[in-house]
Amino acid sequence: MLTEEQIERYSRHIILKEVGGKGQQKLFDGKVLIIGAGGLGAPIALYLAAAGVGTIGIADADDVDLSNLQRQVIHFTPDVGKPKVESAREKMLAINPDLNVVTYKEWVTAANIMEMVGGYDFIIDGTDNFAAKFLINDACVLAGKPYSHGGILQFDGQTVTVDPGKSACYRCLFPEPPPKDAIPTCSQAGVIGVLPGVLGTIQATEAIKFLLGKGDLLTDRLLTYNALRMKFREVPLRRKTTCPVCGDTPTITGAKDELDALTVCDLEAH
């Protein structure tokens, strides 16, 4: 039951017929895991906290760096040197003290991810390397957990929501990661600071819609965004029967680390 103060706090939600008191309670009962407390993770964490998603997990092993602040709006100048998950938790609770924020100061690996995703209703990929992106996809598909994929670079971003077994997954698009160093990272190629704000906010919207059970998720559609040309495009997708993880005869049946996709550069970029 929502308290009087909560009814006041969420009044702009509650008057929406798609939300109402019942929907707000669903958000409060919802559990969302954000993997990565950086560019994408920052707006996601702030908006989910403000929206009153009751349990928010946030995973990242990194500490706040001065070069993060140009885009990772959840971290402030005095936070430099502090664990990102701690910095994020403080801001989320400052916005909304009613939340249960669960922090994981670790990188996701094949060893920890299944247990981590198991406790949540919806997962959001806000990571910056292919090893993590493929691992998150596999874990969510194997666990049957819907999740939002997001990727950014320079002025471009793309996002898709995966409803395992029902809609195309990341490996339907990209069966395997590119080889080491084939594709530049943001730390090598740069990223305009507002870009993850746009993409992360879309990802947070997907989590909220999923918890509410309203609207149409961004499934079987890859949404691409170019900030320079200010263009959004939608590419229709279809599940692939030959997908190595969600296809008819999957070859990936357990979480595995994509060691070839991990580079020292990726690790330094964290």
């Binding site: 992106k133 990727g151 990223v191």
Partner: protein, 70 residues
């Protein structure tokens, strides 16, 4: 002939021998070795790039790896 690439109508010289693989080369598509190609709504297996012909009116999407997020 005219094909649609990532939503844009593009005119390319007629060439009955053109395949997806040779188109990638011809257009100097970025991430050429890793790009995912969707042809008329169907994602192609990479192995099919060399044998899949390109025809006028085809709707082609190049889907690029984007690994950033933080």
């Amino acid at each position: 002939m005219t094909i649609t690439i990532n939503g844009k109508e593009t005119t390319i010289p007629d060439n009955p021998g053109r395949t997806i693989e040779s188109l990638l080369e011809e257009l100097d598509v970025s991430q050429r070795l890793y790009v995912t190609v969707e042809l008329n709504g169907e994602i192609l297996d990479r192995a099919a790039h060399e044998t899949t012909p390109v025809a006028g009116g085809d709707v082609i999407e190049f889907l690029y790896f984007m690994g950033g997020g933080r």
